[in-house]
């Protein structure tokens, strides 16, 4: 099982990094999502992999339990990454709609010399 979880984290991260290096925003966002999945699984595994164990201590008998803290961390991380993904989708959508261009890099004419085309 360790090999399965480890390779899942590795493959998700590798695919995520590959996608992040693309030039258009959509694959980049997909890549970011894949990496956040990878980190969620990774965080889960930092409490050690334990099957069929409750996340609470049993004070009557000595049964195996799994570490509850990483689960709480993962929950936080999922919420945050979900929110952040929504934010980047909105920002890149409005960037696409206002510039008619979904490249993630700045094109030469709108880069260095014209920051802040404010009203």
């Amino acid at each position: 099982m360790e090999a399965l979880v480890a390779s899942a984290v590795g493959i998700l991260t590798a695919a995520g990094i590959f996608l992040i290096l693309r030039r258009r925003t959509f694959p980049v966002i997909l890549g970011l999502s894949l990496i956040t999945y990878a980190v969620n699984v990774f965080l889960f595994a930092t409490g050690r992999l334990a099957l069929n164990s409750p996340a609470v201590l049993n004070k009557y008998e000595d049964v195996p339990y799994t570490d509850p803290l990483p689960q709480a961390l993962v929950l936080t991380a999922i919420v945050i990454s979900f929110g952040m993904t929504a934010v980047i989708v909105m920002i890149s959508l409005s960037a696409y709609l206002s510039s008619k261009d979904d490249h993630i890099d700045m094109s030469p004419h709108d880069s260095v010399d014209a920051p802040g085309e404010d009203a």
Binding site: I20, T25, V28, I29, L32, I35, T36, V39, F42, L43, A45, T46, G47, L69, P70, L73, T76, A77, I80, S81, G83, M84, T85, V87, I88, I91, S92, S94, A95, S98, S99, D101, I104, D105, M106, D110, S111, V112, D113, A114, P115, G116, E117, D118, A119
Partner: protein
């Protein structure tokens, strides 16, 4: 328990939703509450700084859970000082944003501003590594909104890059924290410090990985060289008052480096020895060099100031990476100076861009050119580290602290040559923008390059200038009271290099 400790987080956390939900359609009321909130934050910051100056480390246990189990806020000299700096920076910026009308150009400026303050103050006060991550996210998500405030295609595109880069940074932060938790079984910073010291040296491979990952994350925030790519485009395309506020965000990265690498992975910890010294210092030297070259090569004033921010982060991190009490005292003094000076230059750049656009090339003379050029001159002197302002004292302290370091020659050479290049770059920009413009009347520029006519609005110049002069006043005060300030930062550094006090304050008598 001393409830003042949590006040810098609670106040903006209440004020920001209040502004969104109740004052949504009332810009005037938003402004009043926002300024009042920042003033109150300043009052709180002064109070907790006075409390921390005594040297006691105070702990605030959230939910009254004792230390390794619950999340703690820790108030020591360093965190109090950084909160104070945040409040001191926020006040002129919010006044400037009101005075220049920037807060009208999009929605929710003031709410986002206070969320940002909440994240920054929380990051400075927390004593828990995962909580640090959460506050990083709070300040980042507010900064995404502020960065794209006012809209515009270019700004939004820069915003996408900024968000993507920082999301990646957050993911890296989680990987680092997961690794550290897997090795030490705790996320409380003081507890991590204890566990790290206990781990036998042959089992530290994972720990070192975690420490390096964490350093990378903080270096992303602090814009240390190979990881600085996000900064120029983001800062130069953000609304410049916001960029001025972001001057504190790079300092959050620097603060985190100081905190984690004196407390948990200090110089005497065998497992991570040499890690920071070997990697951080060369990176900081190159950061300063690239920043200085960037200042010299920029074609746009906002971009030039962004490179000023990078160069000053370089100087700061050189001082931090020496990891001696003297150097850290110098670094903390320089933090104060460089934050104020960077913010000042960003605000001056905004004044310039509002009137004539930002290209570093001669154009027609602008309104109030004398006053603005004088302010630019003051900011440039401060940034380059020329006497008489505090930049000179700061750089002198850094140089002095580096004198006994093993590679003092390279540090001295880079700082001095970097300062020289910075002076040349700033002088070039000032000359082209302020002086050559008067000649430009005779041979007008071919139209088309800067064809977009600048409306040169002057909404409420009085308030905007007051804010800028406030920052100048801050720099002057920092110069005049360099003695007391340095005394405070020396004591702070002393406190940092005796992490036992911090650990026993957080974990109680049991240790």
């Amino acid at each position: 328990m001393n409830h003042w400790i949590v006040a810098p987080i609670v106040l903006p956390a209440i004020l920001a939703p209040f502004i969104i939900m109740v004052l949504r359609y009332h810009l005037d009321l938003q402004r009043i509450f926002s300024v009042a909130g920042v003033v109150a934050l300043l009052g709180i910051a002064l109070t907790i700084t006075a409390q921390a100056a005594g040297g006691d480390i105070q702990v605030y246990e959230l939910g009254n859970w004792p230390a390794p189990f619950g999340i703690v806020m820790v108030l020591d000299r360093l965190s109090a000082m950084m909160v104070l700096l945040t409040a001191l920076l926020a006040l002129p910026i919010v006044l400037y944003a009101i005075g220049s009308g920037w807060d009208e150009r999009g929605k929710h400026f003031h709410a986002l501003f206070h969320f940002q303050l909440m994240g920054v103050c929380g990051a400075f006060l927390t004593g828990d590594a995962f909580n640090l991550f959460v506050f990083f996210e709070v300040l980042l998500i507010a900064s995404y909104g502020l960065m794209t405030h006012g809209g515009g295609a270019v700004r939004l595109k820069a915003g996408v890059q900024y968000v993507a880069y920082n999301l990646l940074g957050s993911t890296l932060f989680l990987f680092a924290l997961g690794t550290l938790y897997g090795v030490t079984g705790t996320l409380n910073m003081a507890d991590i410090a204890l566990r790290v010291a206990e781990i036998p040296p042959e089992d530290t491979a994972l720990l070192r990985v975690g420490a390096v990952l964490l350093l990378l994350v903080f270096c992303i925030k602090a814009a240390v060289l190979p990881l600085h790519f996000w900064l120029p485009a983001s800062y130069a395309n953000a609304p410049l008052p916001v960029a001025a506020l972001f001057a504190i965000m790079t300092k959050v990265g620097a603060y985190s480096i100081i905190r984690m690498y004196t407390l948990a992975f200090g110089p005497e910890v065998e497992a991570t020895q040499g890690l920071v010294g070997n990697w951080l210092q060369p990176a900081a030297l190159v950061t300063l060099a690239v920043g200085a070259i960037g200042i010299l090569g920029s074609q746009h004033i906002a971009r030039m100031v962004a490179f000023c921010a990078i160069a000053s982060m370089g100087t700061l991190l050189i001082a931090i990476s020496l990891f001696t009490p003297d150097a850290s005292a110098a670094a903390l003094y320089y933090v104060f100076h460089s934050t104020l000076a960077t913010a000042l230059l960003f605000l001056v750049a905004d004044l310039v861009m509002e009137r004539r656009g930002g290209a570093i090339a001669p154009t027609k003379p602008m309104a109030q050119t004398g006053l603005i050029s004088a302010l630019f001159f003051v900011g440039a002197i401060a940034m380059a580290g020329m006497p008489p302002l505090s930049g000179f004292i700061g750089k002198l302290l850094v140089l002095d602290a580096a004198r006994d370091a093993p590679d003092a020659t390279s540090v001295w050479a880079v700082i001095l040559i970097g300062s020289f290049v910075t002076i040349v770059g700033l002088a070039r920009a000032g000359t082209l923008i302020f002086w050559k413009s008067h000649d430009a009347d005779h041979n007008p520029q071919p139209e088309g390059e800067d064809a977009e006519p600048q409306p040169s609005p002057e909404p409420h110049p009085g308030l905007a200038f007051t804010a800028v002069f406030g920052l100048v006043g801050g720099l002057i005060l920092l110069t005049l009271f360099a003695g007391p300030a340095l005394e405070y930062t020396s004591k702070t550094a002393e406190q940092l290099f005796t992490p036992e006090d911090y650990i026993s304050a957080v974990l109680g008598e049991a240790e």
